[in-house]
Amino acid sequence: MVVSVIRCITLYVAVVVAVRIMGKRQIGELQPSELVITIMLSELAALPLQDVNMPLIWGIMPMFLMVALELIMSYLTLKSMVFRRICYGNPIMLVYGGVINKQNLMKTRVSVEDIMESMRGQGISTLEDVQTAVLETNGTISIIPKQEAAPPTARDLKIKPKKDGGVPVIIVMDGHIVEHNMKAKGTTEKDLEVIIQNYGVAMEDIFMLTIDDSENTYLIKRDEK
């Protein structure tokens, strides 16, 4: 039993480290080679977990070797367009100017229903409104609407938008200062004291305090619901 627990913890840590090394891209959009690696990682981790006769290193070694191969693969695809095309393929145009490219549809085995589903996801109801639909290398279908069907932008309406406040950054979280965010934002402890004083709360009563590029602050107290 103890052996299983130790193995479980070790393999869990190893898989987390392996996935972390492979990078965040893995979680959202999987390319064919990344999908293969992800599936195989779980299989490799499961083997020594199920069979206690098998040495732990038999699971960990191939797991990290796979990660190394994936790193080589991603580096090569980053540096070489040809290699990228061979491994991941090209994006394929499925619709252009509202007209379906049946040949590409057959080639990629994508149904009209799949395109309609992606269109609905973007709030487009008819094919006539689609300028281009592209099957991306990670399997998603990108839809670009025709100019007349696209929602108007500030540029179209010729209005000057208000200055963007940027992304708010968390400065205090659960009563503790987030040092690296404060440093990145260029906020000093004195500035923070002034902000907190303006709100009239103590540091330990703050659940979250954010500051954006325009120095707008937003505070949530601990007891606020």
Partner: protein, 129 residues
């Protein structure tokens, strides 16, 4: 990119060091086991044979921790069963069976994971002369 390279070389060092350690350790284990087994096969008296068998079991026990990290347990259990058999035949002083079991242990040791590299190396060495 720098972090990716560090991770990559870290993995490479880990994999290579484990592989090299595995190869070196298994080769030396097989070599030592073979030399004791040779002793068993060449001795004349049962007392000497018993001493050599004890030496072999002691050596095996001293290497057990690392062996379990590198070799599946069931394969090691097969060798341990052969040890028990050898001891039993030594007790009843059955010379032929003792030799047969010693040969069996030798073949089991040679079949262990990654001792194969050592056999290839020896074959190549013989071919070269």
């Amino acid at each position: 990119m720098k972090r990716t390279f560090i991770c990559f070389f870290g993995i490479l060092v880990f994999v290579l060091s484990v592989s090299v350690f595995d190869g070196v350790f298994m080769s030396s284990f097989a070599e030592n086991m073979e030399s004791v087994l040779e002793e068993i096969q060449n001795v004349k008296s049962f007392d000497e044979m018993k001493d050599s068998a004890d030496k072999m079991v002691d050596y095996y026990k001293s290497q057990e921790f690392l062996l379990h990290r590198l070799v599946p347990t069931n394969r090691l259990e097969e060798i341990e069963v052969s040890f028990v058999k050898l001891k039993a035949f030594l007790e009843v002083e059955n010379y032929d069976e003792c030799l047969a079991i010693a040969a069996e242990i030798e073949s089991r040791v040679n079949q262990l994971y990654s001792t194969g590299f050592r056999n290839w190396y020896q074959k190549i060495k013989k071919c070269i002369g």
